[in-house]
Symmetry: C2
Subunit: 211 residues, 2 copies
């Protein structure tokens, strides 16, 4: 099989058209369908299956109206669908983790060079995991900056923080005491080098720990 069949999922018509133009000009890639959100992507996969069309790789954006990329990825994977390659603008730690946990075959940034993109598509089609350099470096435990290495629990707290919850609400949400919430916050502050919750949110955002 020489030609790989792709499904593009992105809510920006311009980006879809661009990907299509770029990828079809590269030998061996064929865009067989497009979708503007996760639900449409799944519908397209079902439609193509009934037509006997094969899809080798799904190129999926994360941020979309309607069903987002993470959920769609999870559903496609659990249904035994084709490998899903995430192609997105953002590279927050939590995004990457949830996407990979959902079964994504890879995670690329939209500012990746075209050669890398096409190579990633081919790798994903062969069942290999592909991460862009920055993402791989981010996920490599050895290369992590110790100062910004928050525990999963602390990242969870950070998420609730950024949603504007007060300590009491965070405590209830996580079924822990308010004291524990405060302890976690102190740890987060010291790791991020700040001393207030709003500064922690800001810092976490610039470090791309959260979105």
């Amino acid at each position: 099989m020489d030609e790989l069949n792709l499904l593009l999922v992105d809510d920006h018509p311009v980006v879809r058209a661009g990907l299509k133009a770029v990828l079809t000009e590269q030998a061996g890639l064929r865009v067989v369908a497009e979708a503007a959100d996760g639900a449409a992507a799944i519908a397209q996969l079902n439609r193509l299956e009934t037509l006997g069309e094969h899809v080798d790789v799904v190129l999926m954006d994360l941020q979309m109206d309607g069903m987002d990329g993470v959920e769609a990825t999870g559903r496609i994977r659990s249904a035994g669908g084709p490998p899903v390659l995430i192609l997105t603008t953002y590279d927050s730690d939590s995004d990457i983790r949830t996407a990979l946990d959902a079964g994504a075959a890879g995670y690329l940034l939209k500012d990746a060079p075209l050669a890398r993109l096409t190579a990633a598509v081919r790798d994903a089609a062969r069942g290999r995991r592909v991460l862009s350099e920055e993402v791989a470096a981010r996920m490599d435990p050895a290369a992590r900056n110790a100062a910004t290495d928050l525990s999963p629990r602390e990242l969870e707290l950070l998420g609730l923080l950024s949603r504007g919850l007060v300590n009491r609400q965070i405590a209830r949400e996580l079924f822990i005491s308010e004291s524990t919430v405060k302890t976690h916050l102190i740890h987060i502050y010291s790791k991020l080098g700040v001393d207030t919750r709003t500064a922690a949110i800001d810092q976490a955002r610039t470090l791309r720990l959260i979105r």
Copy 2:
């Protein structure tokens, strides 16, 4: 003159390629140069000028590494350059305002349909102001939701809030007393329907008052 000459400015190669593919397929549009950030865009304009090449419209992303779109727009406009059409993913009030203040000829979202994009390019080339529907509605004073209509000063406070400053720092930054900061915050909270600073930041973000 039938063919319009465009300069594309976007730090995503994929998006640039997509725009180029889409726009050149539309009759009358020609992409004469591309740039990955604001500084490169200005350099390209200078280069094209010495070559005697004319640029009718600059299509500019806002979020870029290096010189961002707002600053680049300001410089291009103040140098008597071609009209600049902003094409971006985000539509926060503050982004729109600063871009238009910097002299942008229009503001479009990347999820705009292609027909609208090409129409906007032609309008911009003719010196007309173009805003996407959502943006225009947002900027229309009559259509504003009174509950979320913050004064300019309050938006300014909100920006400092989101950067994690404490009241004392905000006061110093704005040369006002801490009491006044508190008063502004109270007003912001009541307009946003929240009662803590973090919740205000979150709400302002979801309402796209800030980024």
